[in-house]
Symmetry: C2
Subunit: 386 residues, 2 copies
């Protein structure tokens, strides 16, 4: 009709994008398969696929010797190695960097310990070292990186800072975008650790089948991340999921039951007290069992507040304490069932200590995809920040 | 390209849809204006618009005598009267039905009182009477109705029942879809009153500018409805917003401060006690002022739990008590500011007692639009339920 002529160049680009999408979703495909997946004709796909190889978006898998009948078809695959992204977890006790290709396959990781009381300057220097080590050891330069996402503890405001609150000493005014902006030309994202752990659980963890997820991070601090209708929710000002700040829902006091449990040897430091209590409870220690039960009762109040508010399909319990999910999940389920109108599934995290950094990786990958599929297809180069 | 030919009939339909959309969004438009809005050529719009008139989707506004230069252009407008929808609020004390055209313009309304202790049979009979009166007085038959939405008190489960909990006597097993299905061939929706009031506030009320809204219904019961990213959230099983059921957030006890306020005359019934207390507080009565302050303090705890969880742009306070927003909003703002990390705007409802029925109307209109714009355009007839 009237607009069809004017839209033809755009249509060609859209057809190219649909081939890229079809390539991304599968390991490798022939022209026939791509034609079936996209609804485009075989000759059209043939032209588009060769163009994508020229531009660097796709590579050709030549047929192996295993094919015996007729001329085997060449296969195309998305060149996930065209670019890389960095996901970094800046935690209280550690900094962990993950480097992946555009498919999210991790090609390198570096983890350094950091003192809980390290100031902002010291923590930033350690962050720089971890990133440098990760790039150097993987044979990459900042120009190879298409996106960086950094996870921090505390809600992230509109300026990318944790100005509301953060337990990291001196971190409230740290501007990570500015700090890393000198080295990376690509977009640099900063996001809250609980939110990113939630994203990771849906990507590769315990809630891959769910669109409505309440993630609870259990540790010496208790936090939450929310996925609603498949989308990570930041809230209007970035402070969604911060219900832990409200005294009556008892998350502020919950971990103290473990830390102050009678019987913890004086040789065990405060950071290891909870692990000692979980082990003792597992071994049948009565005081330890009581402490765990009290922890779960308090944990359940805040969790029930989230469940009653959002009515999610799944609650995922992650964080350091989720290593002791065997002691926590059953009583947590019972309490939620007692307190709520409808009881969601309650599952333990399957990602362990890497969840937050994995979520950062996923955030960066999503942002790269948004740019690719909105800006249209040029040859793959590391995009600059706006 | 390859698919363009095969997609042409679909393209024509899509172009028709875009003209219908352009018509719906504005009072009336010339072919030139529609061409500008849709990006389609004038000749194409001309053909499409005449087809829409033939099919009953649009009507022609012939130019009036006010045009003096040249031949004035005829204008097309969406025929909002092609169909009608019903929004009904089945409350504890009243049943209110609103009848509107497809633009949401209300053409008739009927309100009946109902006893708070009326059983399900009595309340259903009253509902039937209200609907009959509304249709008859407006000169409509059930065949003219394209959608019906009923608001009820209590979370609505997947079967359309309030099986989790409802304060309406004997209502838990009521199947409204079955009850009304004999009379109406169109879809019948059932939804929770607080959720629908939230929808109404965004449609025509206090939060038309916001996409992230926490709606709090204040009355002898306190409830919540959530709009996140512009979409009303039901939760996985329909029980989102039911945080009021959690004792520690103090909504269960909040209205009792008003009901049990010292000094309420024995002649004032329990349903009117709150109104008496608000008036007395306004007149300077000390006990009444204390009762209002205690109510707001408790109201604020649950509201803060929602704000800390979702970090909305706006909190709307509605329901019966919002008539006394002059006494409630300022202290509520102070408490939220004290308890939360980031403070949203707090506004009073502007819709009064019609909010819930208006929300039902909007839910039904949204559903009609979904059907229109997904199924494609045939002539406008009342659609049947699936």
């Amino acid at each position: 009709m009237a607009t069809a002529g004017a839209d033809l160049p755009r249509l060609r680009e859209l057809n190219s994008l649909s081939v890229v999408r079809a390539l991304r979703a599968h390991p490798a495909a022939t022209v026939t398969e791509l034609s079936q997946r996209t609804g485009l004709s075989r000759p059209a796909v043939d032209v588009i696929a060769q163009g994508l190889v020229t531009d660097g978006w796709a590579s050709i898998l030549e047929p192996g010797a295993s094919s015996v009948v007729g001329r085997p078809a060449r296969r195309y695959q998305f060149r996930a190695g065209a670019g890389h992204v960095l996901g970094v977890d800046v935690g209280v006790h550690k900094i962990l960097a993950l480097l992946s290709d555009l498919d999210g396959t991790i090609v390198h990781s570096v983890r350094h310990s950091v003192a809980a009381d390290a100031g902002a300057t010291e923590r930033l220097a350690e962050l720089d070292e971890v990133i440098n080590a990760c790039l150097t050891e993987a044979g990459k330069t900042p120009a190879d990186i298409w996106g960086v996402a950094i996870a921090v503890t505390g809600a992230v405001d509109a300026t990318g800072r944790t100005s509301f609150f953060t337990p990291l000493p001196g971190w409230k005014s740290v501007d990570l975008t500015a700090h890393l902006g000198g080295r990376f030309a690509c977009p640099i994202l900063v996001e809250n650790d609980c939110k990113l752990a939630a994203l990771a659980e849906r990507w590769k963890g315990a809630a891959q089948d769910a669109n409505d997820i309440v993630y609870v991070l259990g540790g010496m601090r208790t936090g939450a991340g929310l996925i609603i209708d498949g989308v990570l929710r930041r809230g209007f000002g970035g402070a969604a999921g911060e219900i832990g700040a409200l005294k009556p829902i008892r998350w502020l006091q919950a971990p103290a039951h473990l830390q102050n449990c009678p019987g913890v040897p004086s040789t065990v430091g405060p950071d290891d007290a909870a692990a000692w209590v979980f082990n003792a409870a597992r071994a049948g220690d009565k005081a330890a069992r009581t402490a765990v039960n009290r922890y779960v009762k308090d944990l359940a109040v805040g969790t029930a507040a989230l469940v009653l508010t959002l009515d999610p399909q799944v609650v995922v319990y992650g964080g350091g304490f989720s290593r002791s999910a065997d002691l926590i999940l059953d009583p947590l389920r019972r309490e939620i069932h007692r307190l709520c109108l409808r009881t969601p599934e309650v599952r333990a995290s399957t990602l362990g200590a890497d969840a937050v950094a994995l979520g950062a990786l996923k955030l960066s990958l999503n942002e790269v995809d948004d740019r690719l599929f909105s800006a249209g297809l040029s040859a793959p180069v590391a995009p600059r920040r706006h």
